[in-house]
């Protein structure tokens, strides 16, 4: 190859890697750094409060009850053999009336732990181990020791960082909630004055949107033509809003463009058609809200191919009063996350181009409360106890080392606030996010912890 050709090819390669600088919504010029690791990130908050004993430690009943049976009930995510006795976490044997008798078949031939990196001892280092503290820390990289329910995070969410500093569109960013309970609908943008709704991600709680409330109030909505009908509606509404906008008061929208609004409406319409015709892509077992949410999450990913998606689960929180139900839901969350990962590998553009991160929002106590379930097994709450601060992080995808374990019980590595800088790192924006100065002091990219 002559020198001129070599230089030309090198320049093209560099341009392809770095990307063309462009103006951001903030007015700044942004050139994506060359260290972009993947074009899509899916962050699953394995939420509801997951004890270390039934997950990473694989103690099954021996870490909680008087039964001395160990084993791994998350065999899609973690490497380890399932329990051989006292099986109560699967699907029910209705014929013989045995709860949870049939373990769900694994979806993945190779557990995600072997495909990626496991941080087995991560800490929820500050504040109370409450669901919304945990979820908020996951999406914002900061802790909220005094925040109440129905409050937005004080620090920006990952969606806002990406929209403001990397120019992501609103439909590039999705927060997919298991429900609308508590602060879940508020996880898509913060109350921070320099970020906030202007840079928020879209939110959907699909089991509500496509469940009974949505079926009553959204399903079969009139299909206005996006150009003619909506064109006129937008013109008249735009005139009305122009007269009112000077006061800065508006319906809390998320700055989706008209095309994005059309796309969201069309997504809702098409998904309702799938619901009616039974064509939803659901996990093979889909008997709880988490699994249905993960099924809908696949629909969101297929339709929008978001750059950043956060999905939160919740069903394992039954552990407050039903340990058997908790085990079943832990097993189902594992099943659902494996399904999600498998489906991602079938989505053009996301296949081999998506990093998935899985992390509980916090753990649960070591000591039980006084409630016993149908198997006479004790239940567990989540307080600020050390065990409720133990959690793990699992990361898998292109550019992520395979079969690597980082940290141990005596050498914990990782913090609940790490996910935001990690996602920023994946998109080559870590320094920008750090320099905003709004992350917790402990927060670091997981790539820097390896």
């Amino acid at each position: 190859m002559d020198r001129r050709k070599f230089i030309k090819k090198s320049a093209l390669a560099a341009a392809g890697t770095i990307g063309v600088p462009y103006l951001l919504p903030s007015g700044l010029l942004f050139a994506r750094q060359s260290s972009m690791k993947a074009q899509h990130v899916v962050f699953v908050q394995f939420a509801g409060g997951l004890r270390h004993q039934e997950s990473v430690l694989q103690l099954y009943l021996s870490g909680s009850q008087t039964e001395k049976v160990e084993g791994n009930i998350m065999y899609n995510l973690l490497d380890g053999k399932p329990p051989e006795d006292k099986i109560a976490y699967g699907t029910d044997d209705k014929q013989n009336n045995i709860v949870g008798a049939f373990p769900i078949n694994p979806i993945l031939q190779t557990p995600l732990q072997r495909q990626g990196v496991l941080f087995p001892e991560v800490r929820f280092s500050k504040g109370g181990a409450g669901h919304f503290n945990g979820l908020s820390t996951g999406v914002s990289g900061n802790y909220y020791t005094t925040a109440g329910l129905r409050q937005r995070t004080a620090s920006p969410t990952i969606f806002e960082y990406m929209r403001k500093h990397a120019g992501f569109k609103a439909t590039d960013c999705w927060s997919i909630g298991q429900s609308i309970i508590g602060s879940r609908p508020l996880l898509n943008y913060s109350a921070h004055e320099d970020y906030g709704r202007r840079y928020g991600g879209n939110f959907i709680a699909p089991t509500i949107t496509f469940g009974e409330p949505g079926q009553q109030h959204f399903m079969d909505f009139k299909n206005y033509h996006p150009d003619t009908d909506y064109g006129m509606i937008r013109e008249v509404r735009g005139f009305l809003n122009k007269n009112f906008a000077t006061q800065g008061l508006e319906i809390p929208h998320l700055y989706n463009t008209p095309e994005e609004e059309n796309s969201i409406r069309e997504f809702v319409r098409v998904t309702f058609e799938k619901v009616k015709e039974g064509r939803l892509t659901l996990p093979p077992v889909n008997d709880n809200g988490d699994l249905k949410t993960l099924g809908y999450a696949v629909e969101v990913l297929r339709w929008f191919k978001p750059k950043v998606s956060v999905v939160d689960l919740s069903a394992i929180d039954v552990c407050h009063g039903n340990f058997t139900g908790y085990l079943k839901n832990v097993h189902r969350a594992d099943h659902g996350i494996a399904f999600l990962w498998k489906e991602i590998q079938s989505i053009p553009g996301m296949k081999d181009n998506t990093i998935m991160i899985v992390m509980p929002e916090h753990g649960r106590d070591l000591e039980p409360n006084s409630i016993k379930d149908l198997n006479d097994w004790v239940s567990f709450d989540h307080s600020g106890s050390p065990n409720a601060r133990r959690m793990f992080t699992l990361m898998v995808g292109p550019g992520v080392d395979a079969n690597l374990k980082v940290g141990s019980e005596t050498n914990p590595v990782g913090d609940a606030a790490d996910i935001v800088p990690t996602i920023a790192d994946i998109f080559g924006l870590k320094d920008k996010v750090y320099s905003a100065g709004l992350l917790d002091g402990n927060a670091r990219s997981l790539f820097d912890r390896m």
């Binding site: 609103a170 927060s175 909630g177 609308i180 609908p185 898509n188 928020g200 991600g201 879209n202 939110f203 959907i204 709680a205 699909p206 509500i208 949107t209 009974e212 409330p213 949505g214 009553q216 109030h217 959204f218 399903m219 079969d220 909505f221 009139k222 299909n223 206005y224 003619t228 009908d229 006129m232 509606i233 937008r234 013109e235 008249v236 509404r237 005139f239 009305l240 809003n241 007269n243 009112f244 906008a245 000077t246 006061q247 008061l249 508006e250 319906i251 809390p252 929208h253 998320l254 989706n256 609004e261 969201i264 409406r265 809702v268």
Partner: protein, 157 residues
Amino acid sequence: MLGAVCAIMLTFSNCQKDFYVYEIEDQTILPVNSQKIKPKSVPQYISILYTNFFQKAISPNSMLQAQQAIESIGDKQVAFDILLSKYMNDSRVILPSLESMQKDPEAFIRNTYRRFLVREPTEAELNWMLNYIKSRPNVTPEHFYFAFGTCNEHFHY
């Protein structure tokens, strides 16, 4: 002599004119919609929207479900648009006829402002709307009602 001086003073004082100075207090001129500074809550908005389109109150159960549906979508403009599109597909929705709008567009515009925004249109607004009706042969009362029902001013009080 004294009497003459007093008489002259009285004469002049009686002839003096009173001067009244009329002043105008400074007034801040605000747009006609300036009193609306608070967002309606979602239940308030749904309740008013429903009443405007069905001429009756929404039931408590239906309200609760509508509220949940709205909360399940982050972009409230999109959520309200879908909700109203659903209402528009309901045969019970009450809209002015196209004929009535075309027969007396000014009355239609004034009534629409009163119904949704609880005020009269300004002359500029009225003219814009009348020109819009004139220049868009395909525009219907439904388009106007949709736009008014989902505009920012309607969401505030």
